[in-house]
């Protein structure tokens, strides 16, 4: 019983950074900017959050600076993709490397621990809420531990899912953003600036990656270590494809992938019908599922039509 409670609570914890990064990718790609650099933005944000929090003793300052760092990386990507009409995949790869290198180099210089940041005290972290009085009540206790034992960032992440869905579907900005990802010419002839829309999308992606990174280093954990995001950005990308670039399905895909991660962390594999499944197969499952989906064997995943294509006026 306790094991299952812990497993479900862990599922949510593992899902949160995926959800945030996946929504970041969603905003960016729905506007037509492919974002391979989610991982890098998460990583630099995780590093800056842990560093700033360690120096200033406040998780909130850490969060704000993490967002600033992530957004500045996003702007580099935006400049390369929107103004320079560069290859968006190449730009994303560059950002991932830059972030991975800078985090360790700067961390090593600032804290002299080989790239690790100092362990944060509770006030430097986003701590989970606790309701010890509920723990022993049947049903409510386990539910509390599964759903209420998370930090504020986790609830923010969950809340951002309906917010994103609503903003995309119901607001002027959302409508124009979706349009620019499908047919920028239609947006341009309607007298709307394509570049401005795409910059806004890229910045939103930066903010969300900032939240994701900060959650990883100052809520899930209490310091930054190298390669801390461990491919989370790419798993978020996989979830995005899995969700067919839509918000609620993205939540589902991230919870599924988070669950698989939690299972992988909990056991050295799982046993199905007496057959032992090695943990590596659980770990690779999200990626295998995504490839199968991309190959069109289960359902169909269609990216926004203009994504990855730099916009140029005809002639």
């Amino acid at each position: 019983m306790d094991l299952y409670v812990e497993l479900l609570a862990s599922t949510i914890r593992m899902s949160v950074p995926l959800i945030l990064a996946c929504l970041a990718g969603l905003w960016s790609e729905r506007a037509g900017i492919v974002d391979i650099g989610l991982e890098g933005k998460m990583l630099i944000a995780a590093f800056v959050a842990a560093s700033a929090s360690a120096v200033y003793g406040s998780a909130w300052i850490g969060l704000i600076l993490a967002i600033a760092a992530s957004v500045s990386f996003a702007l580099v990507h935006g400049y390369a993709s929107i103004n320079q009409r560069g290859n968006q995949v190449v730009s994303g790869v560059a950002i991932n490397m830059l972030a991975a290198g800078l985090a360790v180099v700067l961390g090593n210089e600032w804290f002299r621990e080989g790239g690790r940041t100092p362990a944060l005290p509770p006030e430097g972290r986003f701590m989970p809420f606790e309701f010890p009085s509920l723990d022993d009540i049947p049903i409510i206790g386990p539910l509390e531990r599964v759903f209420l034992s998370h930090s504020i960032l986790a609830y923010a992440a969950i809340a951002l899912v309906p917010l994103t869905a609503w903003a995309l579907a119901r607001t002027r900005f959302g409508l124009r953003l979706r349009a620019v990802g499908e047919n920028p010419h239609a947006v341009d002839t309607a007298g709307i600036s394509v570049a401005a829309l795409r910059y806004r999308a890229v910045i939103i992606a930066g903010v969300l990656c900032g939240l994701s990174g900060a959650y990883i280093s100052t809520s899930l954990s209490s310091s930054f270590v190298r390669d801390m995001t461990a491919g989370g950005g790419f798993m978020a990308l996989a979830a995005l494809i899995f969700a067919n670039w839509r918000a609620y399905p993205a939540l589902g895909a991230c919870l599924l992938f988070g669950f698989l991660q939690a299972v992988g962390n909990f056991t050295q594999g799982a046993s199905v019908g007496g057959v032992q499944i090695p943990v590596q197969f659980i770990n690779m499952l999200p990626y295998v599922l995504t490839v199968v989906l991309l190959a069109g064997f289960i359902g169909k995943s269609v990216p926004p039509k203009a994504s990855g294509i730099p916009y140029t006026k005809d002639r």
């Binding site: 002027r172 124009r176 979706r178 349009a179 010419h185 947006v187 002839t189």
Partner: protein, 512 residues
């Protein structure tokens, strides 16, 4: 009753509009007056400057000189949003629609009215119901636009413009993608719009449409407005002549043809695009040894698709392409079609005929690179490639005669000579040529024509597709005219240009 605009301020006045794109003078001092509440047709051949003029009016381009007045007031139109604000709407030839969006979402895009789109959607729904009743513009507001047939997509474009308060509606070649029934429906809609006091500018190359629905028509030729007529006081013959102009025949020296046996026999060929529209529609014709068959027509009437099918780039939907007794249509593979002895000078030299980043020598083997003469087996012998390039560049006088120069660095004429050299030197039984002299200087034109005729005189067959009527008339031994995917008729060499113009505009159809 309507359309005259007597005593009323014109809806639109274009005064002295001038526009250049580099060396191309797209609009020359164009002055045009569009009367309030009229349907004004603008007619002209490809490249006459119609679309450029309208793009200037819609704020997509800026005129180098000239003035635009809307309802008598001089205005500055810097972008599409300015044009929209002035009550000008445009239905582009290629629709500007967001396919996964619903009709309503497409209609409100850019006219949301506030941060939330809910109220705009409700307003648009009500408005659409009203417009549907007023103008026969019925479309399901909740349908996904990408799933609608082309005719309905066009209605969405019109609705978009009307929703944004368009008083003047520009339609650029609106019937090119429509079935005849859909086109008739569109004309009824346009007629109703006029009755409600809207102004319509119709860009087209189809004389039938001009005669059917316009009040007034302006003819453009080579960037200029050469005439404006009351539709009632003109006729198709006059318009065709104004449109085509009195051209001097190009200086082409050629004797009469001595046709031999049939090389290419196209039978009931049909090719449908992804949406099921027949772009090549039941076409039959043949080409014999020792003759040049020219296909005339305004671009976009199925010529490109016909070339693609014959050269094996696409497979026909139905019908046969019999080349020297063998159906090559089913091969669907340019490599095998070439091996049968068919050479192809493609219409689009930049995107098809050459690889810009490759040097001249590598372009001289494009499509023929499998030949054993260029290297045994898997090898490609660089020396042999360069030697071939040198020889062909010298023979065809490609300048500079440098096989190592990137092909994108050659002038248009020399690029085209490179392609002509490559295809003619493959010693084909049939050469199919698309737009051989588009964007080519006059000297190169003469040379290219000479080589094509020389090939004919050697007893080879040539199929020539061109939108340049002069070229077709001076080169061809027989002329076929294509319109809307069909062959409208066949004429002899030096056929009357007015007659050809009528066929090209889809007016008269022979019992072929």
């Amino acid at each position: 009753m309507h359309g005259d605009g007597d005593g009323m301020t014109p809806a639109i006045e274009l005064i002295g509009i001038d526009k250049r794109f580099g060396s191309v003078h797209a609009n020359k001092d164009v002055t045009l007056e569009i009367a309030q509440g009229s349907i004004h047709g603008i007619i002209g051949e490809n490249g006459a400057g119609k679309s450029t003029l309208m793009s200037i009016l819609f704020g997509f381009y800026h005129a180098d000189k000239g003035e635009i007045r809307v309802k008598g007031q001089p205005v500055r139109i810097k972008s599409s949003s300015d044009a929209i604000a002035l009550g000008i709407g445009m239905v582009h030839q290629h629709f500007m629609l967001v396919e996964p969006f619903t009709v309503l979402e497409n209609v409100v895009l850019g006219a949301e009215g506030g941060a939330l789109i809910g109220p705009a959607l409700d307003k648009a729904r009500a408005e659409l119901t009203r417009l549907a009743a007023d103008y026969e513009l019925d479309v399901d507001p909740d349908a996904i636009v990408g799933e609608l047939p082309v005719g309905l997509q066009q209605r969405v474009e019109i609705l978009k413009a009307l929703f944004k308060g368009a008083e003047t509606l520009i339609l650029d070649e609106p019937t090119g993608v429509l079935t005849p029934d859909e086109a008739d429906h569109l004309f009824r809609i346009l007629g109703t719009l006029r009755e409600q006091g809207k102004t319509v500018i119709l860009i087209t190359h189809k004389l039938r449409e001009i005669m059917a629905i316009t009040d007034r028509v302006s003819v453009m030729r080579r960037g200029e407005v050469v005439a404006t007529r009351e539709t009632k006081q003109t006729n198709v013959e006059e318009l065709a002549e104004l449109m085509v102009g009195r051209h001097v025949l190009l200086r082409v020296e050629k004797g009469p043809s001595q046709p031999g046996e049939t090389v290419l026999d196209v039978r009931n060929l049909t090719w449908k695009d992804r949406k099921g529209v027949a772009r090549v529609d039941n076409v039959s014709f043949s080409v014999r040894k020792g003759e040049i068959v020219g296909i005339a027509g305004v671009s976009g009437n199925g010529q490109s698709e016909l070339l693609d099918v014959i050269s094996g780039i696409t497979r026909p939907t139905s019908g046969q392409v019999i080349f020297e007794g063998k159906d090559i249509g089913i091969l669907g593979d340019p490599r095998h079609v070439r091996a049968e002895g068919l050479a192809h000078v493609p219409e689009d030299r930049q995107h098809r005929g050459l690889i810009g980043s490759f040097d001249a020598s590598e372009n001289v083997i494009l499509g023929w690179h499998h030949e054993e003469a260029l290297g045994k087996g898997f090898r490609l012998d660089r020396d042999k490639v360069v030697a071939r390039a040198r020889a062909e560049m010298e023979e065809f006088d490609v300048r500079p005669p440098d096989p190592f120069l990137k092909s994108s660095k050659f002038s248009g004429g020399n690029q085209q000579k490179l392609i002509i050299a490559r295809e003619i030197k493959s010693n084909p039984d049939l050469l199919i040529v698309g737009q051989p002299t588009r964007g080519v200087d006059i000297g190169a034109i003469e040379y290219i024509h000479k080589r094509i005729i020389q090939l004919r005189d050697e007893g080879k067959a040539v199929l020539l597709v061109s939108v340049e009527l002069d070229e077709i008339r001076s080169m061809s031994d027989r002329i076929l005219v294509m319109f809307a995917g069909r062959i409208m008729g066949e004429r002899g060499p030096g056929a009357d240009e007015r007659e050809l113009g009528l066929l090209m505009a889809g007016v008269a159809k022979d019992a072929a």
